[in-house]
Amino acid sequence: MHRLLPLAAFVVLAGILYLGFTLRDPTLLPSALVGQPFPEFDLPTLGDPPGRATRADVAGDVRLVNVWATWCPTCLAEHGELMRIRRATGLSIVGVNYKDDPAEARAWLARHGDPYDFNVVDLAGDLGVDLGVYGAPETFLVDAGGTIRYKRVGEVNGRVWREEIAPVLAEIGTPGDG
């Protein structure tokens, strides 16, 4: 038995280290906000001239809330998928234009297409802090009661839609096929 002890220790250690490989990206933090109400806010919209938007404009329907910026390459990478989701499912998408230049953001949407019902301008990042955002893009699924049901840090792509967002949508009770 004692001769096998080093081997057993090695196997245990190797197992623990192997588990390290199967962990998700260590830069992804579990969201503290899933199950919580969408935060209150009162901010300008991206329109020209800008209007105002509050929490009441986000709650009331099932929506994706997508935090994006023109300085964020991954936002451009996921833009096509957001366009597809909007076209194929009609799901409402609200943008939070995060720490960006509103004029540049408008030009960006004119160039790449606009999947958003409207955009909230978060110049300072205060709504971002209330949403627990620590980078862009981040995407939230909000139910009709205004409760956050899902959060994605990083790109939304076809796989994320199929395996993560559509199942939560189905649970909420909106057809999420597309």
Binding site: T27, L29, S31, A32, L33, A124, V129, Y134
Partner: protein
Amino acid sequence: MGSLSRIGLAAWCVWLAAGALGASPIDGFDFPDAATAERYQALLSEFRCPKCLNESIASSGAPIAVDLRRTVRRLMTAGAGDDEIRAHLRARYGDFVLYDPPLGPGTWALWFAPLALAGVGVAVLVRAGLRRRAASLTERERERVARLLDEAP
């Protein structure tokens, strides 16, 4: 020392001093008194920057750390207590944001794994020590063993 090199040395000293000055204030914020400034610094060092994995929001230059420092200042100005400020950030960024995470089901391994490992280490040492003591016989014991073995059929 020539006058040119003296000027150079003076310029270098000024540059060093400016660097030291530039490093000390954060976000150019004025506090009403030293105690508030100290409380602010102490609070900042309790929070981990969510983007940078192992740096407090006190020292990080990441935009999110700037935002969180602003949030802490805003809450302090509004009269929030330290615990309220901790709860505010934890509600948004989870246990991760606290350098001193609370004891709970998600953090049991974090808190108790070092204790368990130390326990295993002590057990191994104690066992090895006992075995060594058992292995060393006195002269009289050795003679007795030899006698017993001789007597055995």
